[in-house]
Amino acid sequence: MNASDPRSAWPARAWPEPAPAARWTFAPVLGLPQFGPWLAACLTALALLFVSHGQWRDSAAWRWMDVIGEGGITLMLATWLAYLRAARRAGPVTDWLCAGLAGMVLGAGVDLLDEFWVLPKDVLWDNWLESALTPLGMLALTRGLHLWRQEQLVINRQLQQREGGWRDHRAIDPLTQLADASHMVRHLEAEAREGRAAHLFLLGLQGVDALARREGLAAADRTLRDAALLLQLHLPAAALVCRYGGDCLVVAMAPQTLADADAWRQRLVKALAEWAAIRGGTQAPADAAAVGVRAAGLAWGPGASLGAGDALLGLLERLR
């Protein structure tokens, strides 16, 4: 593609990551990508200490209740650690959380090992290990949780426009990365229960079907995805944007006077329409107004005659 090709002015937006990975990838902890094997090596070293210093307990003397209980605790802690590493990016919060859980895994491991080996009375290190590892792990975990809270507050601010006061990853639309209509309804109902009203705008992109036929599914998908981003750029931080369905986006804002609401509606339509014209111009010069924008708004709040879902359906009707 050369520089004179107008399409080169419109870079393809790719996903930050190739699809929401179903694969399990584990974050490095304390700079160690192989944290799991290191933890396993520590457990093995502890086991070797028991083997070298202790005496194998006859199976008739095993306290099954303790074996199952302590074994179960070790296993569950290790599982939580695996989930945590698979869920989080590397960083200080992950380090503290994982180090804490790892300490607790080791502490529980020592507790489990002494069910199988009897150590002489004069050996004290096992008591020390048992009483030090678990509490230290708990302290590190608590420090991690404290940092996690702070991190979460920052992320909440980043995601404010996308999730409002409620988080449910199952409502996230994979195309626009916005939540769906059910999320918006839940948000509105929760706000209404708190006695707060909202002003709703439904924005519909017109002509995306034709765009998909002319330029392909990717062009249509990109249009919608970019429109979602552009809309967030033009809205105050406290607004919530969701993908209503199809080629429609829905916005919930703080209550507005009629004049303000109308100004907002016009501002949003103008922003999307100008961008759509530029976009159409670069992609298909002969067909500049390829994607049009329509919008409808209404105030909704406690005591409204229609439910939030029906109010949104009504808005959709007005778009047609």
Binding site: P18, P174, G204, D209, L217, D221, G245, R320
Partner: protein
């Protein structure tokens, strides 16, 4: 003896010519080249691994052919990856599609009515998962979908939505004016109607006994802007298809083929033996084949009767007596019992 019959409204010009082979749900009869390019395009746009989706559906694109059941499994896997709007996004690009002569025949249609007839006639190529049937009276047309083979319950909504979108968004876009389609779904109303409403429009009816689209006939007869070239290509495509140039277009899902045999004689339906003989099978093989499609003779007969009864009672406003006669019931009481068992309501509700 009543002369009322569904054949008065069933558009027989839309029936496929005889001689097509039966498409079994588990036999690899569909070429990968039909849905392959569209699914690949979606996978590229939404950044998911189509190969992985194929593997999870037990399908090997390199083999070239796959079965209807595998296609359904693949669509389910694709929806998992691409998002809940998949049936609508795929649907609006599904028709007229790029399926060779059959798509060419659709593109050159002079109006929607003719396009729908073409869709019904060459459904083996254009929509092998669901079989469309066209019912026309003086005011409106009804396009009713029935299983071509058998759909697993979890996939039914996905496949039906895809076909609804294919007709209402894809095929209808060949004309320029927007159309007032209304949609009947044979399932309960979803909690969240937003996707359906945003893609298909406001005329959505859930909890119906059939999956169907309805449209005022006048809108279907509005002429489409078709160039002379396209018209000639369409005439050529129809001629070539009629001569058997694309054997798959003549194909018919097994369950749909059974319906084809039963529909003209619902007042006095053939028994299993007679039906099996018509398919050139022994009754045992015929029953086994139906069981492989997850159904049996009485279930299909009852489902057809319920659908026909709903159409005759509802849009056609026929009386219970006449409908009972048309469906081979001895009296109204029998018919009412049957109707209640199948639809959960009395015949009056259908009106």
């Amino acid at each position: 003896m009543s002369t009322l019959s569904i054949l008065q409204w069933l558009d027989t010009t839309a029936a496929p010519p005889p001689g097509g082979r039966c498409l079994q749900a588990d036999t690899p009869v569909l070429p990968w080249s039909d849905p392959g390019p569209l699914l690949t395009e979606l996978a590229l746009s939404r950044c998911f691994d189509l190969g992985e989706a194929c593997r999870s559906a037990g399908l090997d694109p390199a083999a070239g052919m796959f079965s209807p059941r595998q296609l359904v499994a693949l669509l389910q896997a694709v929806r998992q990856q691409a998002g809940p709007d998949t049936p609508f996004v795929l649907g609006r690009a599904w028709l007229p599609g790029h399926y060779g002569l059959a798509s060419q025949a659709l593109r050159g249609s002079p109006d929607l009515l003719e396009a729908l007839r073409t869709l019904c006639r060459w459904s083996g190529r254009l929509c092998p998962l669901l079989t469309p049937r066209l019912l026309i009276d003086e005011h409106e047309l009804v396009l009713a979908w029935s299983d071509a083979g058998s759909l697993p319950p979890g996939a039914r909504a996905l496949v039906v939505d895809l076909h609804m979108a294919a007709v209402a968004l894809g095929l209808s876009a060949l004309g320029e004016a927007p159309l007032d389609w209304s949609f009947s779904f044979n399932r309960t109303r979803p909690c969240d109607l937003s996707s359906h409403a945003a893609y298909l429009g406001p005329r959505l009816h859930f909890g119906c006994q059939v999956d169907a689209l309805r449209l005022p006939l006048a809108q279907a007869r509005r002429p489409w802007p078709v160039s002379e070239d396209l018209r000639q290509a369409q005439a050529f495509a129809h001629r070539a298809l009629g001569l058997g140039a694309d054997p798959q277009a003549l194909g018919r899902g097994f369950v749909a083929a059974v319906h084809d045999r039963l529909l003209p004689c619902l007042a006095d339906p053939p028994g299993v033996e007679a039906l099996a003989a018509a398919f050139g099978m022994s009754p045992a093989t015929f029953k086994r084949r139906l069981a492989q499609h997850g159904t049996h003779y009485q279930a299909e007969l009852d489902q057809l009767r319920a659908g026909v009864a709903l159409y005759l009672l509802g849009p056609q406003g026929q009386g219970n007596e006449a409908v009972a006669g048309a469906l081979g019931f001895f009296d109204r009481a029998n018919f009412r019992r049957f109707f209640k068992r199948w639809t959960g309501g009395l015949p009056g509700v259908a009106r």
